[in-house]
């Protein structure tokens, strides 16, 4: 091919340009530490890196959520721990007091001890961190338990049979005329709609029953073998009651002010972690007889009355409360295990993602430096050859 002067110079310019542009790219990627400076240099890698980045941010958010969860669970655990210690002390006291060798003076002294337990229990269940109460469900701004001046008929706790068709609510009313804390157990003993269904009542946790009550939308007085203390119950008419449906009416000087909600945090894609135990769950159990405040109240009045049998009954009840509390210990422990497991798995996921991200995004320093050296040598060679060619001219020999 015929080579012209202009072509020679054009080729020199083009080749040098292409070499400098390659060096420039290597230089940029070395200086910034990033393989690509623009999204169009490698769109697929850029978008992959974006995906990794958002995964990483999400994982660090989940990790921070897990820390919050851990905080809640740790504090809840220690509150429950303290409550259990109280139960243990109360049990010890109750078992001492249940023996016949203890005289009434000893029991009178123990009364103030029980009083102390109740005050301490109130402090423990009302534990808060950062102004948030741990055992109130969603109502984190409200102390879970409030001590009243006198006994008060509390909200009805429903415990329906599975398959029960009842969707209404039961309301307790009346003025309590008794002096000690107690719990009325209302159980349906003949199925049907409100007005037809009948129920029976127990004041001692279902050991003895008083029968012959009919459900009604109006307030119906209920009583037990221990007499009529002015408590009433009304049912809203909605669906059929089933045999065994229970409605528990606590009468107590402690009112639960929280709710039943389980507080959850997001700890993964579509994954929630419950981090709280409500005060009612922890102290109550399902039957209503287990309310620790109730039991302590009863223990107190038994001691006041120098009633060794009453103290023995309280010991039984304390055992069952402790058993209930243990279940929630187990729950908190399991959640804490899940936190640790999740933290570990996020940590390794984070490491893997960081590695992948680095592979996609970061300059391979060794390879890039080698390439830069190679380019430099090539460029020097090109410059040398170019100057040699440019220096050649027929003119020099004419």
């Amino acid at each position: 091919m015929r080579i012209t002067t202009a072509a020679i110079y054009q080729h020199i310019t083009r080749d040098l340009q292409s070499l400098t542009s390659k060096m420039q790219q290597l230089n940029e990627s070395l200086a910034s530490g990033q393989k690509y400076q623009n999204i169009y240099q490698n769109p697929v890698a850029t978008v992959t890196a974006l995906g990794y980045n958002s995964d990483l941010s999400r994982i660090s958010q989940y990790q921070s959520n897990l820390e919050t969860a851990d905080n809640w669970l740790t504090h809840t655990d220690s509150a429950l721990q303290n409550i259990e210690n109280l139960i243990k002390q109360a049990k010890e006291l109750a078992s001492q007091m249940a023996t016949g060798t203890i005289n009434d003076e000893n029991r009178a002294v123990a009364v103030s001890q029980v009083q102390g337990f109740m005050a301490e229990l109130l402090t423990e269940v009302n534990t808060s961190i950062n102004g948030q109460y741990l055992l109130s469900g969603y109502k984190t701004d409200t102390a879970p338990y409030l001590q009243l001046d006198q006994m008060e008929i509390q909200e009805v706790v429903e415990s329906l049979q599975t398959g029960s068709g009842y969707s209404g609510t039961a309301t307790a009313s009346g003025t309590y005329s008794g002096e000690t804390a107690t719990t009325y157990l209302v159980e349906i003993d003949s199925a049907g709609a409100v007005g037809t269904a009948t129920f029976r009542v127990s004041e001692d946790g279902g050991q003895t029953w008083t029968t012959g009550f009919t459900t009604s939308t109006g307030a119906t007085s209920i009583w037990s073998s221990e007499g009529d203390k002015g408590v009433e119950i009304a049912f809203s008419d909605s669906g059929n009651l089933a045999v065994g449906d229970r409605f528990i009416i606590p009468v107590s000087e402690f009112r639960y002010q929280g709710d039943e909600n389980s507080l959850e945090l997001g700890v993964g894609k579509n994954s929630r972690l419950a981090v709280n135990v409500t005060g009612r769950d922890a102290l109550d159990g399902s039957s209503g007889r287990n309310d620790l405040f109730q039991i302590l109240s009863r223990l107190k009045s038994a001691l006041e009355n120098n009633d060794a049998n009453g103290a023995g009954a309280a010991l039984e009840e304390l055992n069952s409360t402790e058993e209930n509390l243990t279940r929630y210990f187990g729950f908190v422990g399991a959640q804490q295990d899940r936190v640790i497991y999740q933290q570990d798995s996020y940590l390794s996921l984070q490491n893997n993602l960081e590695k992948s991200l680095s592979q996609v995004e970061d300059t391979d320093l060794i390879a890039a430096t080698e390439q830069l050296n190679l380019q430099q040598i090539t460029y020097q060679a090109a410059l040398l050859v170019s100057t040699k060619i440019m220096a050649l001219s027929l003119l020099d020999y004419l």
């Binding site: 091919m1 015929r2 080579i3 012209t4 002067t5 202009a6 072509a7 054009q10 083009r14 990033q34 690509y36 400076q37 623009n38 999204i39 169009y40 240099q41 490698n42 769109p43 697929v44 850029t46 978008v47 974006l50 995906g51 980045n53 958002s54 941010s57 999400r58 958010q61 989940y62 921070s64 959520n65 919050t68 950062n130 102004g131 948030q132 109130s136 469900g137 969603y138 109502k139 984190t140 701004d141 409200t142 709710d259 909600n261 507080l263 959850e264 945090l265 997001g266 894609k269 579509n270 929630r272 001219s393 027929l394 003119l395 004419l398």
Partner: protein, 574 residues
């Protein structure tokens, strides 16, 4: 045969070699002139004279001055120039758009989107935290600002491209006029029968320039003039006449018009191919609108989904007064599919929502369920609310928007909305956008004034069936944070994925243009090398030719002096 013949041969030889030197010097002088084709002088022998001893040569004559030129190569170069310039312009313009989406920085939309969802998680961890609420508002504001500025930048880019289209068209018109003028000159020069080499070179340069601006076809007529057409056959230059192109903006898009004889106009926008002009049009009226649409769709889905979830919830405070952010075009037309409601199509008729009224001290006094009946109008909804809660609040229609005002110390909130009417009317919502304009979601994305003024209205929780709401309830905040990983964005992707898709589309578009440009530049370089091999000036060659002609000239001069000596010899015979 005489000595005179010898003198004549010598004289013509001197002339011929001198022209040879001149053509060579013309070549050397134009070695760096764009589009110059080297020329050479065609020397022929003069007709011989018959003598009894045979035909005797009568010296040299100049036949013509020719240029080395290959019309096929020229046309190939013009074709590839059109394509290369097309992709080159696309690459330049798209790269500057890609710069807007450069997510290697921390303030990219992608990172802000991630931070936005993180702020919801932090709020879910502590729904009563004033700081966490404020962070949600700030992150949302940053996100809204990023959406707006991206949308604004894209619109600015479109505007800037219009500014580039105008001079391109002026340049095309200038070039076609000068081609027509050169046509005229070439025809008149070549009437004598000799090629107008330099004028043809100039015209070829103009044609190449024109091809870089817009894709063309051309052919040469017998008289030497060239007719130039757009790719669809629309004539730009016909002999000595040129027809102009003009542009106008119609419906936001640029329309290129051909101005024919007698005021005839023709829309040639869709027939253009290649050259800078079609690249500018493609980027301006095809790519940028597509990117803007994707961005708007993303903003629309984000507003819709966040608002849908937010309107289900309740914050720490209840409303004493609230107005919708979206208005209808006419309060007596049905709400569903109302043209002015950006989310009117989402309304489910026959479904319900709840209004919860509080006495102002945290005690619920009423829970009412409002049903969106088939064909319900805004006035109808107003009446239904007033009928349901006559003592607690007053609903009214102000500026075609629904407004609720609590009576006395009552306050109220919303929830359990299956009808989507709250999100459609902008009640108890988080984001806002311009009402009635469905094209501007990204640009007009903003935060509901109520929330930016008082973050306690951020709906972290939900009312329970009895109308109670607890401050520690984080269920709605969790549901909002979950939107991050939900496939509810455009194209059933997550929001981040939908944005990634947009980024990769822009990146791939730019990369494709860059790769095509590189490829075509390679091809063009090859054709240019071929053209140079034929038409380019080689200094060595010209210097050699110079010496060659110089020597021949010296020899011809020697002929004259020999003839002179012959005469002298003859004249000295006495």
């Amino acid at each position: 045969m005489s000595i005179n013949t010898l003198l004549e041969i010598g004289g013509r030889a001197l002339q011929a070699e001198q022209v040879g030197v001149e053509v060579t010097s013309h070549n050397i002088a134009n070695i760096n002139t764009t589009g110059y084709c080297r020329q050479h002088v065609d020397l022929v022998t003069t007709p011989s004279i018959q003598y009894p001893w045979g035909n005797q040569g009568y010296g040299v004559a100049i036949d013509s001055i020719q240029r080395y030129f290959d019309p096929y190569l020229a046309q190939k170069i013009d074709d590839k120039t059109a394509a290369q310039q097309d992709y080159n312009t696309q690459k330049t313009e798209l790269a500057s758009i890609a710069g807007l989406f450069n997510e290697t920085t921390d303030v990219g939309l992608h990172n802000l989107l991630t931070s936005f969802w993180q702020s919801w998680h932090d709020l879910a961890d502590n729904p009563t935290g004033a700081a966490q609420r404020q962070v949600v508002v700030q992150q949302a504001e940053a996100l809204a600002a990023a959406f707006s500025s991206l949308a604004d930048d894209l619109v600015q880019q479109r505007q800037a491209l219009l500014v580039k289209i105008s001079p391109t068209i002026t340049e095309i018109n200038t070039i076609t006029k000068s081609i027509a003028k050169l046509n005229q000159e070439i025809v008149s020069v070549e009437a004598s029968g000799q090629a107008a080499n330099d004028l043809r070179d100039q015209r070829q340069v103009k044609l190449n320039n024109l091809a870089g601006l817009v894709g063309i076809n051309y052919f040469e007529l017998d008289n030497g003039s060239i007719n130039v057409m757009l790719d669809d056959g629309t004539i730009l230059v016909q002999s000595a006449e040129a027809w102009d192109l003009s542009y106008e903006v119609s419906g936001g898009e640029v329309v290129i018009k051909w101005q024919g004889a007698g005021g005839v106009e023709k829309d040639v926008t869709d027939d253009l191919s290649g050259g800078q002009l079609s690249a500018l049009l493609y980027v301006r009226d095809d790519r940028i609108p597509a990117y803007l649409d994707s961005l708007n769709e993303l903003a629309q889905e984000l507003i819709g989904e966040v608002n849908r979830q937010h309107s289900q919830g309740v914050g720490l405070s209840l409303y004493s007064q609230v107005s919708g952010t979206y208005g209808v075009d006419d309060p007596d037309t049905p709400l569903k599919d109302n043209a002015a409601l950006p989310f009117g199509d989402q309304i489910n008729e026959g479904e319900t929502f709840n209004i919860y009224v509080d006495d102002g001290n945290g005690t619920n006094v009423a829970v009412v369920t409002i049903t969106i009946t088939a064909g319900m109008t805004l006035n109808g909804l107003r009446d239904a609310i007033n009928a349901a809660l006559p003592a607690h609040l007053t609903a009214s229609v102000v500026d075609n928007k629904l407004s609720l005002q609590a009576t006395g110390s009552y306050s109220f909130g919303f929830g359990n909305d299956n009808s989507n009417v709250l999100m459609a009317l902008g009640l108890n919502t988080f984001f806002t956008s311009t009402s009635g304009d469905t094209q501007n979601f990204a640009f007009s994305l903003g935060i509901n004034d109520i929330i930016s003024a008082d973050a306690s209205f951020i709906a972290t929780g939900q009312f329970d069936r009895q109308g109670q709401h607890a401050v520690g309830d984080n269920s709605n905040a969790l549901a909002l944070a979950d939107l991050e990983t939900a496939n509810v964005g455009p194209g059933d992707l997550t929001f981040a994925e939908a944005y990634q898709e947009l980024v990769s589309t822009i990146g791939l578009d730019t990369q494709k243009a860059e790769q095509q440009e590189t490829l075509l530049r390679g091809i063009l370089d090859q054709y240019t090398d071929l053209r140079d091999a034929l038409s380019g000036v080689s200094l060595d060659e010209e210097l050699t030719a110079l010496i060659k002609f110089q020597r021949a000239y010296q020899a011809a001069a020697k002929l004259i002096s020999v003839a002179d000596e012959l005469y002298e010899t003859l004249l000295s015979l006495k």
